[in-house]
């Protein structure tokens, strides 16, 4: 019935590039050396001394996202954890030449993502997945371009994720909450895109909004595949919907 043309190819390419640059990630996962979300340990020391951490016990089970609405909510919770960790790092180590306006904007976004993260944790209660460990070694936090392009990619990814996951929420209260969050993610995406290309069509560019005026949409499985390279914790994404 609808053209499901998946715009956002630019994000896809960017994510692949980042994922490839994250060559260290595979090693980290296998060795169990991870960077705590709360510590955001992406410092040079961490890069140089990964063996300083003890590996996890072998055979640890991957994190299960649960089933039904909890599966979708945990999926969203994982994305929000990723975003929250990213912006925390952005504010912790600001790129060179950052303006006061950019600092305020990115700090606002950081707070929003922290709120989303903590909201999902509270809403899921005992059904919540644990705090995830992330890996942003592919991001140059000293570079405005690297930070903002990554931010744009995460925000657009988040928008497409909520747009694609909405139909899997059975509980209409959860659907409404997802709606309350996705429009804020879209506001973020537009603002960050505008920082990269001020006062152009980029804030809602043809690379994400198709000729029908519809924003990008991705299946949960597609989103997971794109986000997983940045998440060190092993997650079982096999149960996520692929349509």
């Amino acid at each position: 019935m609808f053209d499901k043309s998946n715009t956002g190819d630019e994000e896809l390419r960017f994510l692949s590039r980042l994922a490839q640059a994250n060559g260290r990630r595979t090693f980290l996962k296998w060795s169990g050396v991870t960077l705590a979300v709360t510590a955001i340990g992406c410092s040079a020391d961490d890069k140089l001394q990964p063996s300083g951490r003890s590996p996890l016990a072998g055979g640890a089970e991957p994190v299960s996202l649960g089933t039904g609405d909890f599966l979708v909510l945990n999926f969203a919770y994982a994305l929000e954890q990723l975003e929250a960790a990213f912006y925390s790092k952005v504010i912790e180590s600001k790129y060179s030449g950052i303006t006061a306006e950019e600092t305020e904007l990115l700090d606002d976004v950081r707070k929003h993502e922290l709120i989303h993260r903590d909201f999902f944790k509270a809403a899921l209660g005992p059904n919540a997945i644990p705090a995830l460990e992330v890996d942003f070694t592919s991001v140059d936090f000293a570079s405005r371009q690297s930070v903002l392009e990554t931010a744009r990619t995460f925000e657009d990814l988040g928008v497409s994720a909520y747009n694609g996951a909405g139909k899997y929420l059975e509980n209409l209260d959860y659907l409404l909450v997802a709606g309350k969050i996705v429009s804020v993610e879209a506001r973020h995406a537009a603002a960050i895109r505008d920082l990269l290309a001020p006062k152009t069509a980029a804030y809602a560019g043809d690379d994400v909004v198709n000729e029908q005026g519809l924003d990008a949409v991705r299946t949960p499985a597609e989103v997971f595949a794109l986000a997983d390279p940045f998440i060190t914790t092993e997650i079982d994404g096999s149960t996520l919907p692929t349509t």
Partner: protein, 264 residues
């Protein structure tokens, strides 16, 4: 779902209630649909327009057809607004035209999309008073006024689509399409707000334009699924982090201020 909204949705599913040739007062009195609290002055003519063709046979249930027509009427309003703005000589500075050409392109695309889904069930296109019945007399000659009204329309659009998500949730394709339009409206809103020197997100129920207050009513909410998020990162950030829905009745009241029909 609150009781009021449930009543409206039930009423919309019942052709007899809205197809009747009634005055708005009759509708309020007879149907009891909209409750006593509705400002009659703003109950639009739009409602008649959007329901007139809404009850022919269709694969889609009437409840969804009505929601889509509701969205279509809002898109008609937005599209007329941007087409007029872009055509008004000297209104939009050349530095900002690319932004509004993109908005206008999307609103036109949304119309084509919704009309395509609705087929011959689509609402009759109303005519609009873009000055908001005189509330914004210089909307097409003063860029700051144009920006303010644009912000109001976009932020209202976001709330309108959000408020109807549950009403179309029984159809996955329609729900997903509505969500995809919803996030485009949010991108527009963010951009226009920032052009005005505002944040891209809504803090509390704040607005610097008194006439837009109804668009932001309730946006200060910080409690979702029974969880108060105000303590996480402060109240302001909590209100910004979640956009609130607006029910059909409130959206129609806002859109109705741009109607051209008789009042009251």
């Amino acid at each position: 779902m609150n009781k009021e909204k449930k009543l409206i949705l039930e009423a919309l599913e019942n052709p007899d209630v809205l197809q009747r040739k009634t005055t708005r007062r009759d509708a309020v009195r007879g149907g009891g649909i909209f409750g006593a609290g509705v400002a009659l002055a703003t109950m639009p003519v739009l409602l008649a327009g959007l329901t007139r063709r809404a009850f022919a046979q269709s694969a889609l249930p009437n409840s969804i057809i009505n929601v889509l027509n509701f969205a279509l009427v809002l898109e008609y309003l937005e599209s007329d607004f941007y087409v007029a703005g872009l055509a008004a000589p000297g209104l939009i500075p050349s530095s900002d035209r690319a932004v509004f050409e993109q908005v206008s392109k999307h609103e036109t695309a949304h119309i084509a999309f919704l009309e395509g889904v609705l087929g011959d069930k689509k609402a009759i296109r109303p005519t609009f008073d873009l000055t908001g019945r005189g509330a914004f007399p210089d909307v097409l000659t003063n860029y700051q006024t144009f920006l303010a009204v644009s912000q109001g329309l976009e932020d209202t659009g976001v709330r309108a689509y959000k408020g109807q998500a549950g009403a179309v949730a029984s159809n996955d394709d329609i729900l997903t399409a509505a969500l995809r339009i919803h996030s485009v409206e949010a991108r527009h809103a963010s951009e226009v707000r920032r052009l005005r020197g505002q944040k891209g997100w809504i803090t509390g129920n704040q607005t610097d334009v008194a006439a837009l207050a109804p668009t932001y009513a309730g946006e200060q909410n910080t409690t979702h699924l029974g969880i108060d998020t105000a303590s996480f990162q402060g109240v302001d950030a909590a209100t910004e982090a979640f956009d609130e829905p607006l029910d059909l009745e409130s959206v129609l009241a806002i859109a109705g201020t741009f109607g051209t029909g008789p009042i009251g």
